[in-house]
């Protein structure tokens, strides 16, 4: 075999192997596309009983969870009974998989009709043109917008329009281990940042391996309550620049506080990813306090039935006691073939009956008129979350928020690893976010 022929054959062999490998590799794996059933509605004068229209509804409730059970077995049947012409087809898509599956489905033209989205995804999808502006499509939009908390509603706003309505909301509060406080002789939860700093020595005196506080990462969800409560911010109110805010003196002070507490062994190393998760540590007497959401209660009750969590407001700094708003919005996709029926389901989701049912499985309602209801008023732990919600703030509504969040996460890592001072890391992060906002 001559040289030229050999090398060409070799190349072909290599190339075809690459093709074969590529076919097995994850990047090329054909992604299963959910095929949606479309039911044609015959609107002829002589038609008998109409075939029901099917509305697909994606959410990320765990398939084996009280939320999903309530949704599938109680709430959706309730809606279908009121609307015999509409059938709801719910589908669980795990949070981690949601954007991947959604983008694949949209590319194939088979997006769901409606979906329950994490509030941080709404601007990203609205900016792509995937969502219907509900304030234009729903003639009675204002009636629903006026019935919900303004904070969660704001997460649906992008570029002059509302692309969804809030479905459930949450925030985080200070959750602590009373037994550890008692053993250390600490009177109660910290009301201010100074109170908090003063509690560390007592906790360490009882058990040198214990920590005053634990959080499991440096992303915005963890850091924003500290930034805001210290009086800092990510950007200016109009979201045009981060310089002067993310690297301003108040934000820097928040990170300097964190760094000092971390270096003194008061805040747990799990923030950089090594060690025991905050829930387990709290329940096992390793972490005296965490900053977390209402799901903490069912998690601890199911895994550590002997532990009873206690909660208070997030410790106040110079900026007040400000935590971060989480939750989900319901949106309507442009690709929906049955927007009228889909909007009927959205109206139902905003109704008192839906909101009260889901409140029984840990979903905080978005309607202020339900706060006085017997169920919410007598609830063992919703009260503190609703109180914190009065001051809680939303993350920056921007289509590229996730990239901004990553920049914030990395800055926190660089600071706590001691690779940069808080000022250096935040100067650099602010410049990177400015570049995103300038585009």
């Amino acid at each position: 075999m001559n040289k030229a022929a050999f090398s060409i054959t070799g190349g072909l062999v290599a190339f075809s192997m690459l093709l074969t490998l590529g076919a097995c590799g994850p990047a090329q794996t054909p992604t299963p596309v959910t095929v949606r059933e479309t039911v044609e509605v015959l609107v002829t004068p002589t038609a008998g009983p109409q075939e029901p229209v099917t509305i697909t509804f994606w959410h990320s409730y765990n398939e084996v969870s009280p939320e999903n059970d309530m949704l599938v077995n109680t709430v959706i049947p309730m809606f279908e009974e009121q609307h015999p012409n509409i059938r709801i087809e719910p589908l669980t898509v795990p949070w981690e998989e949601f954007l991947r599956k959604l983008s694949t489905s949209m590319a194939g033209g088979v997006a769901p009709d409606v979906a329950r989205l994490d509030i941080i995804w709404v601007p990203q999808l609205a900016d792509m043109g995937a969502l219907t502006a509900l304030d234009e499509a729903m003639p009675d939009f204002d009636q629903y917008a006026n019935a919900v908390f303004p904070g969660p509603l704001a997460s649906n706003f992008w570029n002059g329009h509302y692309y969804g309505l809030p479905m459930d909301t949450n925030t985080k509060v200070w959750i602590y281990n009373q037994q550890m406080y008692d053993a250390a002789g600490i009177a109660g939860p910290p009301h201010t940042m100074d109170d908090l700093a003063g509690q560390c020595a007592a906790i360490k005196a009882v058990n040198p391996d214990a920590y005053l506080f634990a959080a499991d990462g440096t992303w915005a969800w963890v850091m924003l309550p500290w930034i805001w409560s210290f009086g800092g911010d990510i950007t200016d109110p109009d979201v045009t620049r981060a310089t002067g805010y993310l690297n301003g003196p108040n934000t820097v002070a928040a990170y300097e506080f964190w760094l000092e507490m971390y270096n003194d062994g008061c805040f747990a190393p799990v923030v950089l990813g090594s060690g025991i998760d905050p829930f387990t540590g709290l329940a096992q007497g390793l972490y005296a306090s965490i900053d977390n959401g209402p799901w903490t209660y069912p998690i601890i009750q199911s895994q550590f039935p002997d532990m009873e969590p206690h909660a208070s407001l997030f410790p106040a700094g110079p900026g007040g006691s400000i935590d971060v708003v989480g939750g989900e919005d319901i949106v309507l996709f442009q690709q929906s073939d049955h927007p009228e029926e889909a909007m009927e389901f959205i109206r139902f989701v905003l109704s008192q009956e839906y909101q009260l049912q889901m409140a029984q499985v840990g979903q905080l309602p978005v309607r202020p008129d339900l706060i006085q209801s017997d169920y919410i008023a007598n609830h063992p732990y919703y009260g503190i979350f609703l109180e914190q919600l009065r001051t809680s703030r939303s993350r920056t509504a921007h289509p590229r928020w996730q990239e901004m969040d990553e920049i914030i996460t990395n800055a926190g890592q660089l600071i706590l690893r001691g690779e940069m001072t808080p000022q250096e890391a935040l100067d650099s992060a602010a410049a990177q976010i400015d570049a995103i906002l300038a585009e």
């Binding site: 070799g10 192997m17 949209m106 990813g273």
Partner: protein, 297 residues
């Protein structure tokens, strides 16, 4: 005569057709589509206009420090795991070739990791290398063997996180190289061994002068296949470190995945995938060229 030859080849084409169609739909079409996407600021919604940016996405990769970091990590992963799998696989094959009792058992035992799911073993390794004192590797090294005095936060430092990722890559692949080498060893005629023994060659001389030269074609194929595999490392990184901390354990595929499915930046991700294809293609050709040799007998 001529007509029947034509008919034969038509029959052959007919048999090739189903396989070719499958390849065309699932491999060739997506590859060409990805090439097209890589020249656009791609919008995934049907009916929306994607902006043509020419080579813009490729130029962007050249100026993207995270691309270079993930490329460096991918190359390092390939160097470490390919040589590890090759050497260990060869040594195990040479040893097993001499074993007469229990050969099937050992072969199955070494091959077992190959057929296990990447997802399962990645999660298993993440658990083994847990940073807390209760992590198995920490417990073993500090509390049982006493070779280290302090617990290591394995997955929160890039250097130690790579120890977990590399060892998983090698452990999972050794069985495959072993089986290929065992098969190749079987093809060496026993007369060669007999003749060498009569001439007074020792065991080491037989390996060095007869076995290894005869294995070279196999080594080349194994080397190319393993390199392709190493450049496609994804699951282990995605599940063990998610590319963190600070993207320092990111490999090309995990970085590409984030760009495509978190940032929905499909044009750039498609361009990265073509950079990867070109690299692997060039590398495969270089390996063939460098290690090519005529049969030794």
């Amino acid at each position: 005569m001529r007509r029947s030859a034509l008919r034969d080849s038509l029959v052959a084409y007919a048999f090739l057709l189903p396989g070719f169609l499958f390849l065309a739909v699932w491999v060739v079409y997506p590859m060409l589509k990805a090439l097209q996407i890589s020249f656009y600021d791609w919008s995934i919604l049907p009916g929306q206009v994607s902006r043509f940016v020419g080579l813009g996405n490729y130029v962007r990769a050249l100026h993207d420090p995270l691309f270079w970091l993930s490329l460096k990590n991918t190359v390092a992963y390939a160097l470490v795991t390919v040589s590890g799998q090759l050497l260990l696989g060869l040594i195990i094959a040479l040893l097993l070739d001499r074993v007469t009792k229990g050969r099937v058992f050992f072969r199955a035992a070494y091959y077992l990791p190959v057929v296990t799911s990447w997802v399962v073993v990645s999660l298993l390794f993440k658990y083994l290398f847990n940073s807390s004192p209760s992590g198995f590797v920490n417990y073993l090294l500090v509390d049982v063997l006493h070779v280290m005095s302090a617990y290591v936060p394995w997955l929160s430092e890039p250097e130690t996180a790579f120890v977990a990722i590399y060892s998983l890559g090698i452990w999972k692949g050794v069985g495959w190289t072993m089986v290929i080498f065992l098969a190749a060893l079987d093809t060496i005629p026993t007369e060669f061994y007999d003749a060498a023994s009569i001439d007074g060659a020792g065991r080491w001389q037989i390996i060095r002068l007869i076995v290894l030269p005869l294995l070279i074609p196999t080594v080349v194929i194994v080397l190319i296949m393993l390199t392709f595999g190493a450049f496609q490392a994804y699951v282990q990184v995605a599940l063990i470190t998610q590319g963190g901390p600070l993207h320092r354990t990111e490999v090309l595929l995990s970085y590409m995945y984030t760009r495509a499915f978190r940032d929905l930046d499909f044009g750039y991700a498609a361009a990265l995938s073509y950079v990867l294809i070109c690299l692997v293609f060039i590398l495969g050709r270089l390996q063939l060229r460098m290690l090519r040799s005529e049969p030794v007998y």
